[in-house]
Symmetry: C4
Subunit: 362 residues, 4 copies
């Protein structure tokens, strides 16, 4: 096995996938300034490790939104995973389950939550705010019935960010990749055009951009599951989320796929952590590419991270085994990072100092 | 139509235009340090979006210097637009009018203000301070008579910045491009030389570098139109402008075409906004290349922006239709940016926080 | 002799060594972000020289941890030097001795400390915390008996950092390079595999990751030699080291070979200096490539520096003579740097101001 | 004449000169980090121009160390100008004189001060501190007799910085380029070797590195000429200079040719200006490449600047006419910069604000 780091996996996947699918996964919106800034900001987070802590074995286990997890990591919700591999979400979830990492089933999953649940993985369910409110209620019910352990409501997609790669590629879904939770599953996302993104077209038809605080309150009353609000960057919004009963927020710019030009996620993170002040959990995503990034996020105060694209690269390379490889690399890297930073466990990592040497340093 | 972003339009225009015209439009002065710094500074403005604002439709309309505008955008004054396309300012204004965006007629327009007015577009009139004061008075009178809604006095061109590309190209105006507001319209700008810019020669003959505060006061008494002072970077000058009765200042370094080595416009903007403190409007230009830049400027406190070169690239590519495409892309991008930033309207955008991660970060 | 600077020596060595050995020496861990950041941070330290100090001859001599040294420089502990040249540590030490620079014998030396001692060089002995505590005691005894003048305990290698170059190269020790202080000297480091580092395998077998404060206290009671704790980046750890009786700490990230993503060593240095506040010596390494870097470290408050890779490049190029060349270049550069900074001696250099213009500037 | 900016002149000169001479002029010491940082720091100084100042004609005239000058610029002392052109210092001075710019005769001039004086240019005389104190006295006497108007004592060359390009080129003076003020004029600088700089060899033989405060005091009593101390970067040294009676200091790192790794000159400048607080003049050099740089230096508080390498490039390209071209370009650029910054004169430029957006920004 010569996939030595996550970049190897990405390279292998990129070589294998058709161009439009590769672009759909890799791309960001607009000028992809935020996409690049996410990495630059993470690379500029210099962790200050501790020594002589007497740590023989580092315990990577933690609890995320009340769920036990083998790592402070969950698989981010990502749509249409059958694009990367016929096994789709079932393959990904199986690998996540084996690795002890929660898997987030998307509203736009290409496999149904009930099917995915059969893998035995710990599941969270991601909600997009559909115009069809009945369907939202139905999805919540299905998620609960399937044993999902948290509801992740994504709030940074009132409409889909303009991803120019998709527009130029005239990207649409192939016939065999379907939105399993939408009746029939064939949507405007399948309509091919010369220029323009089918996926974006579908989103604007199906999603309700008017999602507001009131809807979060409504959802809060509709389910006993812990609520996670994904896509928060302003500290004021973060505190309001936890005040309204959210268990966690995800500091995220959707991997640079929504509003281009927003603050890098790692620059926003410490400000949100400070504002939330322990009243809720603060998860982090956008740009995580290895175990050191998990440590960086923890050192900046995160409870844990969501892992996005690398999971899909693993899936593309080898289905369940490919995802397993990605998660195993991440586990090994993070375990070593804890040891090398003198941290016996995840909690200790949250006490590490950092020196910001990149963009956004104060 | 495969012009997916403003950079596509620029690429198409650059491929089409003769080298000296392309350089005249694209170029900056001196080492073009400021030209590049304008973009770097804008790219370093990380907007912090809001979520859950319940915005179904974002209202992009606003008022600029008392004029209703469909976007917080006006077309910047730009000389000799017939260089880019035979339709010149008439074509540009027609597209601007259709898009509901004010068009600024230049003193050095290659089509007369009366002709342009026939497009029905909302017009502003830009004044250069000509040595021939009678002509200035005449231009003000013509602008008023033609129904212009504001006078924009440009104060950063006591002489023309040394644009080395023009000097090397020996740039001069072709016979069929004329300064429509100057009697005859054939000027020293048409004199060709091996090395040296005809346009700069003409400027130094025609413009009065001694333009001062007194002249602004004089102008203020001569017209009922709102006065906009364009090319202000020092906060002390900005406050003095509004004290003397200007309705607005434009924070601008003339797109890096005047004094090279000056502060990037986006670095100057928040300092001017703070000093003016609401006593007048603060417009912004220099480097705006898309809807996200409009949002960035608003988040830094601007009332609106002027759009420069992209309009000329559109004009070069397709006359009125090309400009329409540019303004349509900008409208779509800005509308989406508002939605994605959780802003119901332009006012909300002015309340967004920013994280400065580029040059000039404090 | 046309090796004009240390970069020349590196180039010459890199051209001569087999790829896997070159990579073992040059490489860092992970994405090699810290490896690069170490240099960027040093290049961003602008020293503010003094003038008119009336310095005829600069005295480069100093005392390091109670040892007289001709320069504020010691050779860093580096494993398996026979990889670079058959003379190995004996050749390096001989050159160091001739240059009046302390040489640090490694636990993983490929020549025995007793043999090295015959060169007459001033020796320090570096300890790795072996699971076999008896062996640690034996090494301390051998070091003392051989006349070593300080014990350097390395605390940033509970396990070996994942150095991807070694993993990809399937790096293992050739049969003729042995760990002279480990009985037999043939270890798992000699086991070749397609992918994976033999050296790392050996480390995880032999080293005790649980090394803690208690062990430092124990060691402190076991020897009269001054104790140096190598690999400290957090100021809190540094003060604790000196409180427990260490004579010095080495601010080091192991040349970017342990935890990737940690703070650049030069960014950590002034913070540690401030915390230690003179209660112990503060040595520095990671990225030193010439006499100016020595001056930079002193100006940031270091007592002296350890020199790593450049010594091995010299060894590879010409054995003892090659190392001598490296140390002579360094001596000449540092002597000149002192003179040009108006410093009569090493102490004066510690009083120089700096202007931080690179990453990590406050 | 198609030399449109100083970079054109440099390009033309570089194409014309033999490699070793070109390298001697262009090169810096060490890794040339400071050489590059000087420019980066200047490019990062964003000037904030004023508007509406009513400036018809900008007055570029000023007084430098009691000498009237047509520009706030003097030609920096530069050794052996016959290397660039047979006319050498006489040609340079003639052009400077015609431009109304003081010319600094070097101790290592290749033409004698008496000869140079015949050009009628305003002269300053630069002193190196020779071991032969009698010769120093003689040079002071000759300088006074020849009508020099200031003595510039260079304090950043106790020994010559190691300029690796010269070392690699085995650079030595050709037989027809002589140190006109040293008896015979043939020195060790003429001794050719495979590797190593003849010029540096000569310096270490001839210069007294022990130059100290006492010597400045002694010099102060020996001449009625205003004293300028060149090569000061630490504010404490600057204030001491003026306390001892110096009329001015030159904030300079010798164009990156002495100690590599020192603070960029433009970063040091405002700190020195603040410390000197008007008690003496503060000149600036190292990296000035055009009229905008002169404005930047003034805005940072400098009294004026010294121009180095560009003058030699001009000399190489066309002797006196080449230098005249350089000074004419500089004059034109600076005049325009004043006008565009709304400054009626040099004094106004010193009141401009700056926004530091590059390295060393606070
Ligand atoms: C192909 C793809 C599809 C995605 N689909 C969704 C989705 O349906 N719902 C959602 O909340 N986020 C979605 N995301 C965003 C991820 O949840 C996550 O925020 C992002 O990928 C994190 O950045 P990273 O990829 O740099 O790790 C998607 C991301 C990608 C790359
Ligand atoms: C070709 C061209 C001609 C211009 N002519 C004028 C003019 O006549 N009057 C004026 O005030 N500004 C003029 N400008 C400056 C613009 O109004 C505006 O400040 C600048 O273009 C904004 O920068 P941007 O091009 O990066 O958007 C001109 C700019 C260009 C590119
Ligand atoms: C090939 C190699 C082997 C090393 N072996 C050891 C070692 O055995 N013990 C130790 O404490 N440090 C070891 N180090 C780290 C050095 O002591 C030192 O911290 C590092 O090389 C300094 O960075 P530099 O190489 O950039 O100067 C080694 C470094 C290299 C390059
Ligand atoms: C070829 C050359 C020779 C120089 N000779 C001297 C000298 O003899 N005395 C001196 O004080 N400075 C000397 N300098 C330094 C200049 O006076 C000045 O400080 C430096 O060139 C300014 O930087 P710039 O070249 O970037 O403008 C020399 C510089 C050059 C490039």
């Amino acid at each position: 096995e010569d996939l030595v780091d996550l970049a190897d996996v990405e390279r292998a996947a990129v070589a294998r996938l058709p161009r439009d699918v590769r672009d759909f996964i890799a791309g960001g919106s607009g000028d992809e300034v935020t996409l690049a800034a996410n990495r630059a900001a993470l690379d500029g987070v210099g962790v200050v490790p501790r020594v002589l802590a007497g740590v023989e074995v580092a315990d990577t286990g933690t609890s995320l939104v009340g769920t036990e997890a083998a790592l402070p990591v969950a698989v981010a919700p990502m749509a249409y995973q059958c694009l990367a591999h016929p096994g789709g979400e079932v393959a990904t979830a199986a690998a996540a389950g084996a690795a002890g990492v929660p898997f987030t089933v998307g509203t736009l999953s290409s496999r149904a939550v009930e099917e995915i649940a059969k893998t035995g993985a710990t599941l969270w369910f991601q909600l997009y705010w559909l115009r069809d409110r009945g369907l939202v209620e139905e999805l919540v019910a299905r998620a609960e019935a399937a044993g999902c352990r948290a509801l992740v409501i994504t709030v940074d997609v009132p409409v889909m960010g303009r991803r120019r790669r998709d527009v130029r590629n005239g990207f649409s879904l192939p016939a065999d990749v379907r939105a399993a939770h939408l009746s029939g599953g064939v949507t405007r996302a399948h309509e091919r055009r010369e220029v323009g993104s089918g996926v974006a077209e579908h989103t604007s038809t199906a999603f309700d951009p008017a999602l507001g605080w009131r809807d979060v309150e409504w959802l809060r009353t509709r389910t006993r599951l812990p609520l996670v609000v994904k896509g928060v960057l302003d500290p004021r919004d973060a505190t309001r989320c936890v005040e309204l009963g959210a268990s966690a927020v995800v500091v995220s710019n959707h991997g640079g796929r929504q509003l281009d030009g927003v603050v890098p996620s790692a620059v926003a993170l410490p400000r949100v952590v400070e504002a939330v002040a322990g009243a809720g959990e603060v998860l982090f995503d956008s740009g995580v590419r290895g175990g050191v990034d998990v440590l960086r996020a923890l050192a900046l105060g995160a409870t844990g991270v969501l892992l996005g694209r690398p999971v899909l690269w693993g899936l593309a390379v080898g289905g369940e085994r490919g995802v397993a490889r990605v998660l195993e690399l991440l586990r090994a890297e993070f375990t070593q990072a804890l040891l090398l930073a003198g941290c016996a466990d995840v909690g200790a990592a949250r006490g590490l100092a950092t020196a910001l040497t990149g963009p956004g340093a104060p």
